[in-house]
Structure formats: C-alpha cells, structure tokens
C-alpha cells in the first residue's frame, strides 16, 4: 500500500465535496436497500461526518499510532448504530465504487488495490475494537426518565435510570437518542458523579431548530425511554494533581464540571475549588440554587455566578425581594437608605463581592481573569465554543500552562 498515492487519490476525489458522500450513500443504498433504515431521513450531517472521518483516516494512514486509537473508538461508537461485521464489506464495495467514479482516468488497478488494502485494515481495526468492547459492555443502554425539572423555558434537567449499570468517569458524556427522533444521537454530559442507584442527570438546553434538544426540553416526561451509547470524553479530573482547582462553566457546560465537583467532594481532603458559572442573563443561571447549597456546605468551595448581557441593574425578581426601588429618590427618612440583604438571596459561600447578591457582570472569561491569580491551579473549562476559547486564552495569558487546562466545547455536539 502506497500511502502517498492514497492521499493523492483522496485529495483529487475530496475536491468534489458533498457530491462524493452523496454518491457513496446512494450507491450503498441501491446495492443494499436494507441499510437505509439505519440512517436518519436528512443526511447532510451524516455526509459531513463521513467526509471528515475519511479525511482524518487518510491523513493519518501512515501514522498508525494515531490512526489505530481513532479507528478503535470509531468501531466502538458504531456499535450503538447496530452496525455488525457483515455490513463492513458492503461499505467497502461502495467506497471503492465511489472513489473509482470520481477518479475518472486517474483510477488504476494499483490505486484500487491501495484502497482495498486500506479499507481492509480500517475495517479490521474497527471490528476488532467493537468485538473486544462487546465482551464488557452492551452496544447501547436503555434508560428511563425518572425526573424532569424545567428550569427555564429552554433549559431542563433530566434524571435517567439506565437498565443496567453504566460505569463512567465524572466529566464524561454519552450519546442520547429519543424514540421520537430515531437515529439522531446527541452527546450530553452526566452532571453527577456516579451514584449507588445508577441514576444520571443531564442538563439540556434547547437549541432552536435542532431535532433532539426541543424534544428533551419540552416534550419529555417521567417514564419516557431513551437510548444511550457508551461514555466518552477526556474532560476528567486529574487525580494525581495536588493543585487547587478552577472550574469555568458556561450555561449547560456546567454539567460535566458539576460531576467533577461531586467527585472532589468525596475526597477525604478536597483542594480549594473555585467554580465560575456564567450565562447571558440571570435566569440562565439555572442551577445556582443547588450550587449555593454546596458552597454553604463545603468550606473549600467558592461559587462565583456571572452574567454577561445584563447590566448591574436589578432584575424583576430582585426588585420584588428587596423593597423600595434603588432608583427612587431617598425620602426624608432614613429607612430605606439601606434595604439590607433580602432574605434567602445571598447564600453563604456565594461570592459576596459583586454588587447584588454576588452575581458578577461581564464576559465569563474576563470575570475569571479579574479574580486571579490562577497560575497555581488546574483549570477545567466547558461551555459554548467562543466562551471556552476566550477563557483558555485569558488563562494562558495569566500564566496557566496549557497542559493544566482541560476543556470541552459542546458547539456541535448538542442540537
């Protein structure tokens, strides 16, 4: 197998973009109509995924130490789709047919045998990994929703009970499928450290126009079924480290960090932990109540909530709770110069430093940066892509070594 010839061949074909994947799937389904049902109706994302996967496989074809783990994961991932050994040759045949079709005159017997050899290797590694995985875990887990809490019109916390133990590390996530959107899998992080009763919490934010999240947030009830794939993800706690810990969560990016926080809380001697929890507006801080309780219970934990799109003024709820409006001119008397903290709003442990009930204002990354120094900390960052990017930039600027920052974005994982 000539790696360079393979790369050149793929580069020529890949220039033709989406048409290549379109031809591949049509060819596969014309030859094997029964495979069509394993895919969703809309295939554009599927085609993107195929081209990306092919691209990375071909790019690493002469770098087996990198390629093999990638393929092993790919093989394990495909178990939940119901892909089995007998499907692999069909895929290989359609792949070669597609490449031949788009290669035109540059196709030759040598190129064809390169591709056959490469595909044979890919299929072998994927299948072996899938087989090995099947010894220890099922292809998927069935789960039942046992609690639904709608925290805002577009944010819900779901509790799911898997039908058999689903071991995972805090910070990891699973792909989820709901019965009304078959073959649409979306990744969600477990928001708790593993519990004795096996239940798992998911923080779901509705993505406008997405197929899955609106069903999870607005159309899911107790007793509903879900399917889950095997846990994945590397945003996990570095247990070797003795350093203090900085957790930075944007919106539902809180989920994996909360799981890690629970894991830390189980240690006999937890390090000091700062948790920054940011959202655009105050009502986006959907889990602050629970975090405040934890902060009250654990002296080593400090929780700093932050909002980016609301000015320092007061939201409706604050006005209701804190008596006369701050904007009103002081009357002759002295009684409302200092309304005092409204009951129940300023829980201990939540940062008292930032104006009204401890909520900081500004971009989360700036709020984090102003409260440094962080150079002695391990940082864990999760949230929307831009927020994660800015935070990592700021932390690097403040002297946190890049290898002490673990992160995850859910930009395209959740829809």
């Amino acid at each position: 197998m000539d790696a360079q010839r393979l790369k050149d061949s793929f580069a020529r074909v890949a220039e033709q973009g989406d048409a290549v994947a379109l031809f591949f799937y049509s060819d596969l389904f014309v030859r094997n109509p029964h495979l069509r049902d394993m895919f969703p109706i809309g295939m554009s994302h599927q085609r993107d995924k195929l081209l990306r996967a092919l691209g990375s496989i071909v790019a690493q074809v002469d770098d087996l130490p990198t390629l093999v783990p990638f393929l092993q994961q790919l093989g394990r991932d495909h178990r939940r789709f119901g892909i089995i050994a007998e499907h692999y040759p069909h895929v290989g045949a359609s792949l070669v047919a597609t490449l031949r079709y788009f290669s035109g005159t540059s196709w030759s017997e040598d190129v064809e045998s390169d591709w056959n050899a490469a595909y044979g290797l890919v299929a072998k590694v994927m299948l072996e990994a899938a087989d090995e995985d099947s010894l220890s875990s099922p292809a998927w887990w069935n789960g039942q929703v046992v609690a639904v809490e709608r925290r805002r019109f577009d944010i819900a916390v779901l509790r799911v009970m898997p039908d058999r133990p689903l071991p995972y590390l805090p910070g990891q996530s699973v792909a989820l499928e709901v019965p009304s959107r078959l073959r649409h899998w979306r990744y969600y992080s477990m928001a708790n450290a593993p519990r004795p009763d096996q239940t798992m919490d998911f923080h779901v934010r509705l993505v406008d126009g997405g197929p899955v999240s609106p069903v999870l947030v607005r159309g899911t009830e107790n007793g509903d079924r879900v399917r889950m794939g095997a846990p994945v993800g590397t945003l996990t706690l570095d247990e070797e480290s003795g350093r203090d810990i900085l957790l930075v969560a944007g919106s539902t990016g809180l989920a994996p960090l909360k799981a890690i926080l629970e894991q830390i809380a189980r240690r006999p001697a937890p390090p000091r932990v700062h948790l920054f929890f940011g959202a655009r507006t105050r009502d986006g801080l959907y889990d602050l109540e629970d975090l405040a309780k934890m902060a009250g219970r654990f002296p080593w934990l400090r929780v700093v909530p932050a909002v980016s799109d609301e000015s320092g003024g007061h939201g409706f709820s604050t006005v209701l709770q804190s008596g006369p409006p701050p904007g009103a001119p002081p009357a002759s008397g002295s009684w409302f110069d200092a309304p005092g903290p409204p009951p129940g709003v300023s829980p201990s442990g939540v940062s008292p430093s930032g104006g009204d009930d401890g909520v900081e204002h500004g971009n989360l990354s700036d709020v984090v940066a102003r409260q440094g120094p962080w150079d002695g900390h391990d940082a864990y960052v999760c949230g929307p892509g831009a927020m994660v990017g800015h935070t990592v930039e700021q932390l690097a600027r403040l002297g946190v070594p890049r290898d002490r920052i673990r992160l995850e974005t859910f930009a395209d994982a959740q829809r």
Binding site: S26, V30, G315, L320, P324
Partner: protein
C-alpha cells in the same frame, strides 16, 4: 364439389407445405382431360393471396429489423447495460435524498426563525414587565411618602399626649420615646402601610393579567405541540 383434400381457405390460417403436398384435384368432367378447371383456378387464387400476405409480412419484418439495428447502433434507448442502470438508480436516489435534505433544512430554518421571534417577544414582554414593576414601586413610594408627611403634619398639629392614641398604632413600648423619634416612627409606619397597600393592589392586578396570559399560552401550546 370439393375434394376432401383440397385445403379449406379460411382467413388467417396460413398455407403449409404439407397442405400443398397433399392437394388432390378431382378429375375433369367426362369428355375433358385433366383436373377440374374451377378447382385449379380457385386454388391458384388462394396461393396468390397467401404469397401477397407473405411478401407483406416480410417487408414489415425487414423494417422492424432495420429499426432495431439502427437503435442498437445508437446504443442509448432501449435496453440498458446493467452498469448504466445502476448509475441511473444512484442518480435518482441522490436527487431524492437532496430533496429530502432540502425539506429538512427548510423546516429547521423555519423553526429557528419562529423560535428567534418568540425569544424577542419574550424579552420584550419581560422588559415591559420590569418597567411596570418599577413604575408600581415608584407609585407606591410616592403615595406613601405623601401619606407619611401628612401623618407627621397631623400629629404635629395635634401634639398628642404621650401614650395616647397614636396615628400608626405604635406598640406600647414606644410610649416613652422623645417626640421627634415618635414622629419619625409614625411617619415610617404610615409610609409602609400606604406603600404596601398600593403595591399589593398593583401587584394583584398585574399577576391576574399574567395568569390570564399564561393560560392563553398554555392553551395555544397544547394545540400546537406535536407529541
């Protein structure tokens, strides 16, 4: 009188070599040599018709052969090679898939736009509500201040004896306070009473309006949410 072996000429049937071979003409009438002329003439007419039919058929067949040969030479229409049929099927399926993808993308975009508008409306409603709430509080504050000032003026005019009926229903323990302090407390009590009165009534009417909105919203959502 026909010989039993003379072929019966029927429409559609074709003269066969076997029939021709077995034709037997009757002898001519007495005094004449040979076959019965009538029968021979009839038979020749029959053979002629058959030949015409055969030539016609042959011409039609030759045309058909030429047409098919021409088609085969052009090679596109008619029966397709299996490979071409496969590509044709792949093309048709690809077009169908693209149509489906387009519909899905359109539906997604439409949902996104609707949701975006709903969010804008939600924000407008919220900021409106905040504005109203602030107005409410300000109104309550203004009225309460006015009432408090009035109460103080009233108390000042009356200069009531210590421990007697007090404007704000002060607790008895306040009896021994100096006058200015008592006045301040009376003013505060009057202020707070009026403030909470005005505030409560505003809040009540506002919450009732909100509840009506929520009920309408729920009703419209239940009729539109697919399950």
């Amino acid at each position: 009188m026909n010989s039993p072996n003379l072929p019966v000429v029927s429409e559609g049937a074709r003269l066969t070599p076997g029939e021709l071979h077995s034709v037997v003409f009757a002898r001519a009438a007495l005094g004449r040599r040979g076959y019965d002329e009538e029968q021979v003439r009839n038979f020749l007419a029959y053979v002629e018709r058959e030949l015409v039919q055969i030539f016609n058929d042959q011409a039609v067949l030759a045309d058909e052969v030429n047409r098919l040969r021409a088609q085969a030479a052009k090679g596109t229409r008619g029966v397709m090679a299996p490979e071409d049929a496969h590509f044709q099927a792949v093309r048709i399926l690809s077009q169908a898939q693209q149509t489906a993808d387009l519909y899905v993308a359109d539906a997604e975009r439409y949902t996104r736009e609707l949701a975006h508008e709903a969010r804008l409306q939600r924000e407008a409603i919220l900021s409106d509500a905040k504005g109203r709430a602030e107005q409410m509080l300000e109104d309550a504050h203004r009225k309460a201040v006015a009432v408090a000032e009035a109460a103080v003026r009233h108390a000042g005019q009356q200069s009531p004896p210590p421990g007697a009926a007090r404007a704000g229903g002060m607790p008895d323990g306040a009896g021994g306070m100096p006058d200015d302090e008592r006045l301040a407390l009376q003013r505060e009590v009057a202020y707070l009473r009026t403030y909470s009165d005005v505030y409560r009534s505003h809040l009540r009417s506002y919450l009732e309006a909100l509840l009506r909105n929520v009920a309408e919203w729920e009703a419209s959502e239940q009729s539109s949410l697919p399950r």
